[in-house]
Symmetry: C2
Subunit: 121 residues, 2 copies
DNA sequence: GGATAACTTGACGTTAACGTCAACGTGAAC
DNA sequence: GTTCACGTTGACGTTAACGTCAAGTTATCC
């Protein structure tokens, strides 16, 4: 039941959309969907990624890598690792952008507080 | 000239779009746009915000606050400050989401490296 | 055994953030 | 003096990520 998955604050439509995009692959009992632990975990990762601007395509790429990392083929692992390093670099960049913005916003808030304190002297 | 502003890696269309949305307000010389230091600064802030998932509306709200923070009306300042604190909380949340994701991805990368090292023994 | 509630597929609608194309103006260059 | 590169407005197109019906199926409750 997608209802239970709506515990995570999404609609059933979202679940079907993610399934259509290949992000989730629930089992079927009859024709109803059943979400196992794996899908629930993937969903949490996806939603977390979405909150700081990752696209569904990026989310899918990352969650799929969690599966491929257990591979045994050297060639595959090397390619995967290169891509992972790119993703890490990208995430670090975003982290820095976020950090700067947060820093500036807290500065503005501080100026407001100072201004208010001044008005009360 | 929007050309100069395309130094920041955006198209002129983007600039006009931001202007239409009230994010930028370039002066006009004749009917041509001229972007001053203020607009350039705002643009950088906007683009930075966009990189970690802020919408244009959120960007506008924040950059507009930079202007309002110099206000002298206590009532205004109080409202502004409350909103700023909400924004700070939101940004911290995103920061935490990003941090967790980054942490997990680097973990996967480490597993890959370990796996590769093992294949070379 | 009929209503209700939750599931399904299918299809079209919506919003944000631009892309793209048409038609026109304009100063500089040759 | 016309070609060209860059500017303008206006309008329609596009993509992502869902929302929102419509119409039908199944399990359950009373």
């Amino acid at each position: 039941m997608g209802e239970l998955a709506a515990d995570l604050g999404v609609t059933t439509r979202t679940l079907r959309h993610y399934e259509a995009e290949g992000l989730l692959t629930p089992r079927r009992v009859g024709q109803n969907r059943v979400y196992g632990a794996r899908d629930r975990a993937r969903l949490r990762l996806i939603l977390r990624g979405r909150r700081f601007g990752m696209t569904l395509a990026e989310c899918r790429e990352i969650v799929d890598m969690y599966d491929g990392a257990a591979s045994s083929e050297e060639r595959q692992l090397t390619i995967l690792l290169d891509r992972l390093d790119e993703i890490v670099a990208d995430l670090r960049h975003r982290q820095e952008d976020l950090r700067r913005t947060l820093s500036e916003v807290t500065d503005v808030a501080e100026q407001c507080r100072a201004r208010l304190a001044e008005l009360h002297t």
